[in-house]
Amino acid sequence: MNATMPTLAQAELPLREGPPTMSSSDGGARNASRYGWSWCALVPLVVACGVSDPAKQIERAASWAVTTRELAIERGVGSVGRAYTLDLLDAGRKDIRKIEASLDPAKVPAAVRSQVPGALVELDSTMTRAGDAVRRGNPLLLGAAAAAADSLGHTLESLGEQAGK
């Protein structure tokens, strides 16, 4: 090995700080307030766009009615598991309750305003009955729940179309 082989220098180097500038010391406060106003302007846009359309909410409920029907059918023939069925029904009921709570009656067209809440409550109850039927392993109750969900699906679909007009 070469005795005069150069070694690597190990340097702990001090930071060289640049001179303070106007932009870093005085501009900071200006920048914060400018960005603050931008965010304020965005909030109404986000709020306005985030408010749900009642027709879409009713369509979502109709989708859950059909999901309940399909779940009951597939569970009835043993295609899907018990745990999966109960979990999905549970998730669906939570979503229906969210729709019930968030639906603004003032925004629902008069033609369907009186029918929607009742249909949602009935759907909640149907999904509960379907869950009970799965827990008890009762195919007749499950079939009845499927039929009720099917009917509610058509009802809600029709209400959604009317609400969208």
């Binding site: 859950w64 059909v66 899907v80 745990a83 979503d95």
Partner: protein, 405 residues
């Protein structure tokens, strides 16, 4: 013969590794609401991915540099920090959603909440990376991922109108809910052209020691592998169009996708759906984690190799350990996997310009790729993809607000 075997394996693993949480659910949502109308978005995303995979593979074959290496070396640390930070943030969210996908499949099978599964899944993914080699990670999970061919079987069994399916390959105006339509277009593109995919691929080319002699294998893997993979995504959309759309099922929860195959294939369909979701997402979990660690290590100048033992590349192995366990922790907090997946796909699409546009420079740099620079067609295609990526970036926020769930 050996080359043919390598090529076949490469194509097969590209197919098996194509689907993941985002591509599955965006295809299901697209088919359930718009029928075949969004097939063109899948086709566009697949072609874009094919392009980027082939070019990132060619870069690695010719120069021995991965995309991460080349971004740092060609553009310097001041630019590199942008794809590094955006790549890590976006990939972390996608990683969490993939862990969520595996956990959800286990929840659907057992009834035990996905929050309980998240850390064991993350640990299993970490264990695969810790003990496995690059070949095991890439090929093992992808070969198992061939179970996703069940979607093609289901689509064929449903006897779709092939004329209508073909018509879906051309962009059409949506008949309803325009905001949601374009939101899903962007999400599908994000699901198809995830930057982690081609960054992972270029690192894999270097790990496997491919050189100039493997350029034809690279091209065939990119074109054939990604094409067949795109067919898989399209099959998911077709099945959703034929099972969910006529019934009026909109997908508000990821778990609803479990009803996709039972009407066609009965109980076997349900089991195979869970297997597809679980395996596809697990493979993606391992790949994304590695891709993130590759990006950090390559950019900052650390030793990296999945083929080496963890103690030989300690900073690299610590990086993937921390990433995957943190992502697992996120899913234990009860984050909605569907919302997270949709959001991360949108963010992925929005971050595309940061890696796609620089590829135009890299693939024309004589010092890097020599005589294997892009021809005019490659540049035109990449240029078009760059423009699409920029348009997607500009529209991502409004679409997330107006069209997102």
């Amino acid at each position: 013969m050996k080359r043919l075997l390598e090529l076949s394996l490469g194509i097969v693993t590209s197919i098996g590794g194509f689907l993941e949480a985002g591509s599955i659910i965006t295809a299901v949502q697209g088919g359930a609401v718009f029928g075949y109308q969004l097939l063109w978005a899948i086709a566009l995303g697949t072609v874009g991915l094919m392009l980027l995979v082939e070019q990132s593979g060619r870069l690695a074959c010719v120069s021995g540099r991965t995309v991460g290496d080349a971004l740092r070396e060609r553009f310097g640390i001041n630019f590199f920090v942008i794809p590094l930070v955006t790549g890590l943030i976006v990939s972390f969210l996608v990683l969490a959603s993939e862990i969520g996908g595996v956990s959800l499949a286990l929840q659907m099978a057992t009834g035990i909440s996905l929050q309980w599964w998240a850390l064991p899944v993350a640990f299993a993914g970490w264990f695969l990376l810790w003990k496995g080699t690059f070949g095991i990670v890439e090929k093992g999970t992808s070969l198992l991922g061939l179970v996703t061919i069940v979607f093609i079987v289901a689509a064929l069994k449903l006897h779709p109108d092939w004329g209508e399916v073909t018509a879906g390959l051309l962009p059409t105006r949506p008949s309803h809910d325009r905001a949601r339509y374009w939101y899903l277009v962007v999400s599908i593109i994000g699901a198809s052209i995830s930057p982690y995919l081609y960054m992972f691929y270029s690192s894999g080319v270097v790990e496997d020691g491919w050189g100039v002699d493997d350029l034809s294998t690279n091209k065939a893997t990119a074109v054939l592998g990604m094409s067949f993979g795109g067919v898989l995504s399209a099959a998911v959309l077709v099945v959703a169009a034929l099972v969910f759309l006529p019934r009026g099922i909109q997908v508000e929860r990821y778990e609803q996708a479990g009803l996709l195959l039972p009407p066609v294939l009965g109980h076997a369909g349900f089991v195979l759906f869970l297997a597809s979701l679980g395996i596809a997402c697990f493979g993606a979990t391992a790949e994304i984690t590695l891709a993130m660690a590759y990006l950090v290590a390559q950019g900052l100048g650390w030793d990296w190799s999945e083929n080496a033992k963890p103690k030989e590349n300690t900073r690299f192995s610590l990086t993937y350990t921390v990433m995957i366990l943190l992502a697992g922790v996120v899913m234990t907090l009860g984050v909605d996997p569907l919302k997270l997946t949709n959001f991360s796909m949108m963010l992925t699409a929005a971050s595309l310009p940061v890696t796609v546009v620089p590829m135009l420079v890299l693939m024309n740099d004589e010092a890097l790729v020599g005589d294997h620079r892009n021809r005019w067609f490659g540049n035109v295609a990449l240029g078009a993809l760059s423009i699409i990526a920029i348009v997607v970036l500009l529209s991502a926020v409004p679409l997330q607000v107006m069209g997102g769930s």
